[in-house]
């Protein structure tokens, strides 16, 4: 089930070697441009009556030359790397005989992959036919040309850019401003990666989900009560079509999250109240970091703890009082997830309780209320919106949590709200659908992306609402 894909890693080693040659060449050309640019600006400055006649320091002219040499060539290099394989694929496939090209795109892809693996020496000669062997030869030739051309073009562009910049050096050239402008753009690009990541997530998940909904009607997915994503291997098989009803997964996810909240909210909230209102400074400074260790424990550790310690314990406990408890009960997974979320709830409520102005506390205490009365009747009502926001954030955490449920919750989707039974969750299904050898286009894998889409938007919505509530609450007391 967990076998690695053998294909093409030798090839990647090769291509990494080649890419690093190109890359090192590029670096060398940048360095040369830097020194030439700096040197030339010095010469020009000295001949114009001293370095002070230059607008910028000589090194800025050097930087400028290096950037001109490096940036365009780097773009070309990256573009070439991305375009190389698809481009060669097109040429090789167009050279194949007509009967081969008449195959479906999935089959043609497999056929082509064999050609590539053979060309890279990963597949035995006996595995491929003559046509594929010929294609492999043309593939290797094309790859050779492409690599040669890449080195040549990238080098030429770098030389050209560097030379242009060096020739432009004049005392009145504002090299420093020029370099700094380019740098600002680089900084901007770095921060724009966050936007691109979101865009990438939305697009990748959305595209695959749309392909899924072309096979399975969206209403069946959203309102179907049965989830069993077994697709037929043969068309005439009994029970050929799997059913992709999302409701049992949602109920299972919410059930486990609810159990988690039953643990995390009381413990987290009460600890936060105790630590911020009652505990001495010293006790607090020791206790808080210790409890925050719980937040740093990797989720896979919680999963192990849930599956091997908590779940058997709960089952034995249930059996001793005459209850039948599934060995992968929602209770065990929820309980451990609750433990994981305690520090999260604690630090959020801590922030929020501390944001309530002291004047309110003092007024209440001054009227003769006890501390607990002040907390329950003054602080908590005032902090309620913030705490609700914090709890929403914690719920979104619980819904998106993966490892604990993968290891401790069930696999089969059962529509129940009994926490002693095994239920499955959205994240568990994503993992089981995608781990292992799958064809990428089957409805099973596409279903995982549809689930991913739902997960992304549910957590996004929860976060937006929660952040809005918390911000409104903060503004109220500022």
């Amino acid at each position: 089930m967990f076998a690695p894909l053998p294909a093409a890693h030798r090839f990647f080693e090769d291509s990494i070697m080649q890419s690093s040659t190109v890359f090192l060449t590029l670096l060398a050309l940048c360095a040369i441009s830097f020194f030439v640019g700096r040197h030339r600006s010095r010469l020009i400055g000295m001949s114009a009556g001293g370095l002070q006649t230059l607008h910028s320091l000589p090194k800025h002219y050097g930087y400028m030359a290096a950037l001109w040499a490096g940036l365009p060539a780097l773009f070309l290099f990256v573009f070439w790397m991305l375009a190389e394989q698809p481009f060669i694929k097109n040429i090789v496939i167009s050279g194949l005989p007509d009967d081969v090209r008449a195959m479906g795109s999935a089959e043609l892809g497999l056929y082509y992959n064999q050609v590539v693996s053979y060309a890279n020496g990963n597949v035995d000669e006996a595995m491929v036919n003559d046509v594929q062997r010929a294609a492999a030869v043309s593939y290797q030739n094309l790859l050779g040309y492409s690599r040669g051309l890449k080195l040549l073009l990238v080098g030429a562009l770098a030389l050209l850019g560097g030379a242009l910049a060096v020739l432009k050096v004049k005392p009145e050239l504002r090299a420093r401003n020029h370099v700094e402008n380019i740098f600002k753009w680089i900084l901007f690009t770095c921060s724009f990666i966050a936007v691109l990541t979101t865009l990438g997530i939305v697009l990748s998940v959305l595209f695959e989900a749309i392909r899924f909904f072309q096979n399975i009607p969206i209403a069946d997915f959203l309102f179907g009560l049965k989830w069993s994503p077994q697709m037929a291997i043969r068309a005439d098989q009994v029970g050929a079509s799997g059913s992709f009803g999302f409701v049992p997964l949602l109920v299972g996810t919410l059930l486990i999250s609810f159990v988690a909240m039953l643990i995390a909210v009381p413990v987290g909230l009460m600890s936060a109240i105790y630590l911020s209102e009652y505990a001495s400074r010293r006790f607090r400074s020791v206790t808080k970091p210790v409890l925050e260790i719980l937040a740093g424990v990797p989720t896979v550790v919680y999963g192990f703890f849930a599956a091997l310690t908590v779940a058997p314990f709960i089952r034995e406990l249930g059996e001793s009082i005459g209850l039948t408890v599934a060995s992968e009960s929602a209770l065990a997974a929820g309980l451990v997830m609750g433990i994981m979320i305690i520090p999260f709830v604690m630090s959020l409520s801590d922030d929020i309780i501390n944001a309530v102005p002291d004047s309110m506390r003092e007024a209440s205490l001054g009227m003769g209320a006890t501390m607990s009365e002040t907390i329950r009747k003054v602080l908590l009502p005032a902090a309620l919106p913030g705490i609700v926001g914090g709890i929403l954030l914690a719920v979104s955490r619980a819904i998106g949590e993966t490892m604990i449920v993968v290891m401790a919750a069930g696999l089969s989707a059962k529509l129940t709200i009994n926490p002693l039974e095994a239920v499955t969750t959205i994240t568990v299904q994503i993992v089981t659908l995608l781990v292992g050898d799958q064809e990428f286009d089957s409805p099973k894998t596409l279903a995982a992306f549809a689930l991913g889409l739902v997960l992304f938007f549910v957590t996004l919505l929860l976060n937006i609402v929660a952040l809005y509530v918390v911000r409104k609450y903060r503004e109220q007391y500022e």
Binding site: A3, C190, A194, A279, V406, G452
Partner: protein, 428 residues
Amino acid sequence: MSKETFRNTELIQASLKKRYAREKRFQLYGQLAVLAGFAFLFILLFDIVSKGTPAFTQKYLLVDVHFSADKLGVAPGAGEEELSRANYSGVIKASLREMFPDVSSRSDKRRLYRMVSIGAEYDLRDQVLSDPGLIGQRKDVWLLAHSEAASYLKGQVSRESPEAERRVKDVQMDWLDQLRDDGRTRSAFNTLFFLEGDSREPELAGIRAALQGSFFTLLVTFLLAFPVGVFAAVYLEEFAPRNRITDLIEININNLAAVPSIVFGLLGLAVFINFFELPRSAPLVGGIVLSLMTLPTIIITSRAAIQAVSPSIREAALGVGASKLQTVFHHVLPVAMPGILTGSIIGMAQALGESAPLLMIGMVAFIMDSPASVTDPATVLPVQIFLWADSPERGFTEKTSAAIMVLMGFLILMNALAIYLRKRFETK
């Protein structure tokens, strides 16, 4: 009037007891909550440490091995190649039979052979290869015990439990008792655990391949996330104009920080593996995915660190004619660096413990060899833990806990480093 006041005081006094009791109770709830948190943490750590500690020792059995050329199936004066292909398992089996001559039934013989690990064959092979003179000799050799036999010697299985429910049978226990009474058992520190890759046999499985995979993955993550994160933070704090695009970027960063990690795995699968056709199971893709995931953490903490730099430093630099960029890179960043490093280390610690997105991009393969580069198939420590935890062999439970202890050790180390940096930063 005065009577009324008196009545009120009386009422208040009567209710006071109740109110104080409620106050006490409330305080108790708070203490209980803190205590519950402590108890959970303690149970979790105790469970893992008590399960994992035995995995750091390994049991050996002293077997009187007869290196007969006959059993090995080699001719005298055989070359290295022939020696390395010789039948060492036959030698071990024959030697075990000689030590326990009473064993006759076929199933008992199988049980007898099952006490020694498969790995022992390779030990013998290495010994013979280094000293071919051993052939034909008799020698006492410490052989690695099978994980089941070891579990009895470590006292994890007791005779009282029903025989059908345990892997170690009564006869095996008798033999092991006999060996122990003869002083023919020994325990030693489990070096294999740190020097070997994954294996199907619990006693031979180690975390070296996973550690190396984690190292390569984190290396890629750091190389990508650190510069990009710091540059992004610099842009947002020092250069970004107040406009729509900046708002868009900030909203995106905040949202990405809360996106479930598994969604990043889906991104990696769809974009880097299916679209860009990067290799599956490779630390390269794992590192890219984790860097996208840790980027928000690094950006947010770096921004806080840059914000905390006193404006006087900026003004002084600008005042003597430095440009905005020079001010930032020569003066602001060096001052903010400890804070930035603290945030980055915490982000790296998160990445080290992360496993869900890596499952999506195929880093769940069974890996025996350590990866040599970022494009080799690899697995990481948390995923190795996941794989072992899933494994039906009982011997893997202690391995899992031990691997968790190693992982937690690294995490504690990284967090301690972050706290140390923060402390130094604060005192400045």
